[in-house]
């Protein structure tokens, strides 16, 4: 711990700040993986068909089935996977930074349970409640995700401060309550259980350009705020009091970061369902490799999160193609063991 603080203090005064080489390499790697992910899929397509599909998409002349698959299904799906992965990773960085705990993840404050309940309400009751039907699954899961976190924040608030411990406790309580309500809804409508469950396990299969356009503003806002807050996050690691002495408006910074991380997570979850481990693993892996300076950690974790999610989605749609595996299952199966390995490695480090 002492070592970490020294490194941080050093990093904070170090003028170099962002380390560009790993960022450039990471961006290149992500681009390469995304290209591969667009090239591979259930329907085999040659390079010529892929290029034609993208070209026809760009000039607005999507006609053949191959064009449709490349431009309207596969490309947006890969892009959305990258965006969602990046969003989850940045939320992970923010939460881990705020709570000074590398095990915090984007779902800590009830986003997942809130979004799940929203989706379950839309899937099971969508038609009987007309005003609900209009917002659809993404709209409702987004709204409920924000609602859950809002309830958590209100419950945890002590005057104008939000103590970390009461935040986490409130998150657990609200999470369980929402989860119970979701389960109850599933029991009430067994014929919709498969639909709710499929959503809970995550999937990009219904993703299109409209989903990207819808969530992009939220992700952009969150990314900008979190990237610009690199130094603030670094100082927060020294503890609230010390950060305050160094001029950080601690409570406001925390609240802002929680707000944007929650927005990003809620937006991501609303179009893809619950995808675990990415928000936990990506920041953690980067921290182990390159240290805890947020000016490098945040952008690189986003790149890694995007990379991991694109790969996980590629696995999800190719392993048992033409059928699919929910992506949440893939990230859990691959992420779980990897995380255990990280934990072991970390013990040797600290």
């Amino acid at each position: 711990m002492a070592l970490m603080q020294e490194t941080l203090a050093a990093a904070t005064v170090n003028r170099a700040g962002v380390r560009w080489t790993p960022l450039a390499l990471g961006s290149l790697l992500l681009a390469a993986v995304m290209l591969v992910a667009v090239a591979i899929g259930t329907v085999p397509l040659g390079p010529a068909e892929l290029l034609r599909g993208v070209w026809h998409g760009l000039i607005g002349e999507v006609t053949s089935t191959a064009d449709v698959i490349v431009w309207q299904i596969r490309l947006p799906r890969v892009l959305l996977a990258a965006l969602v992965g990046g969003a989850l990773a940045l939320a992970g960085v923010a939460y881990q930074g705020i709570f000074r705990n590398p095990l915090a993840d984007p779902y800590l404050l009830g986003v997942a349970s809130g979004a799940s309940l929203g989706a379950a309400v839309a899937i099971t009751l969508g038609v009987s409640l007309t005003w609900v039907g209009r917002f659809g699954v993404p709209g409702l899961s987004f709204a409920f995700a924000l609602l859950a976190v809002l309830v958590v924040l209100l419950m945890a608030r002590r005057g104008n401060r939000i103590p970390v411990l009461s935040l986490i406790l409130a998150g657990v309580v609200v999470g369980s309550t929402f989860t119970a309500a979701t389960s109850f809804l599933m029991l009430l409508t067994p014929e919709r259980t498969a639909g709710v469950l499929a959503w809970l396990l995550g999937s990009f299969s219904t993703a299109g350009w409209s989903a990207i356009v819808t969530i992009f503003p939220f992700l952009l806002l969150a990314a900008l705020c979190t990237l610009l807050a690199g130094r603030t996050l670094n100082l927060l690691q020294l503890g609230d009091e010390q950060a305050a002495q160094l001029g950080v408006p601690v409570e406001a910074a925390k609240l802002l970061l929680i707000a944007v991380a929650t927005l990003a997570t809620a937006a991501a979850v609303s179009v893809s369902g619950i995808i675990g481990f990415v928000g936990l693993l990506a920041p953690h892996a980067v921290r182990l490799a390159l240290g805890p300076d947020h000016r490098t950690l945040t952008p690189l974790a986003m790149l890694l999160g995007a990379l991991v999610t694109v790969l996980a989605d590629l696995l999800a749609r190719t392993v048992i193609a033409p059928a699919e595996i929910p992506i949440g299952v893939v990230t859990a199966l691959v992420g779980g063991p990897f995380f255990l390995w990280l934990l072991r490695k970390q013990r040797n480090l600290l």
Binding site: T42, I69, R192, G195, S203, T206, W209, R317, A323
Partner: protein, 295 residues
Amino acid sequence: MEPFRRVIGISLLLALIGLAAAVAYPLTVVDDLGREVVLDEEPRRIVSMIPSSTETVCALGACDLLVGVDQFSNHPQAVASLPRLGSAFSPNIEALVALEPDLVLADEYSGIAGMLEELGITVYAGTPQTLEETFESFETLGRLLDRETEAALLRGRLLGEIEEVQRRVSELPSPSVYFEVDATPYSVGPGSYVDELIALAGGENIIGEGFAQFPQVDPEYIVAQDPDVIVLADAPFGVTSGSLAARPGWSSIDAVRDGRVMELTSEQVDAVSRAGPRVAEAVRLLAAFFHPDVL
């Protein structure tokens, strides 16, 4: 249609055997859990916790023996007034026991059978999953309820009705069919009951070789297969041909372009998905949609 011929053959044979003698109680039947179900005398108070079994009991003319059903048993009309006993996975055991049933028809997955067995209540556990099992279930329930003649007649009538559809569509070209269970998208694959119905109705399910019974499908595959017709079993939950067209790339599918999308009502969904006496009705319904000019 080889499997179908086999069903007919077996059924007719069983019908002949069945007609030869009335049921002699005490009767022992082995259920789907491999349990020996013993009935000392003809059951007079029956509880059905499976919608398809409820329909079968009524189709055998034994509707008046039912004293309670699960909350999803909504057909035929005669069961509407019966007490509701929850569902398979959240049964109201107290209310069920209070009805003092001498036979309970339950599913084999939920554990309800084991629970009732401990309470000394006679349970037959089993749900038909395929066409063959559906026809077997008529026969089994016919034996349990001493309605073997009715079971043989029901079987004969349904097989005749399905044969009639077969006769009219077998020579026609089969449209390719995508049957949607859920917008995820979930569909039905080989070995599932609905897949068999699609084939009987003269359709060609695009979810074929290599798929599981209830697969989540890559939408890419559906767009590439370009089905001629689409059946929406999730229509009662707000999926429409309009919402299909809004899905990425789906507006290029023939069925969506030509408006050959069938939005099932919730009653039609039950008729098609429940392996029970509405099987012929379901085949007719699908066939009329697959071959609108002929039927």
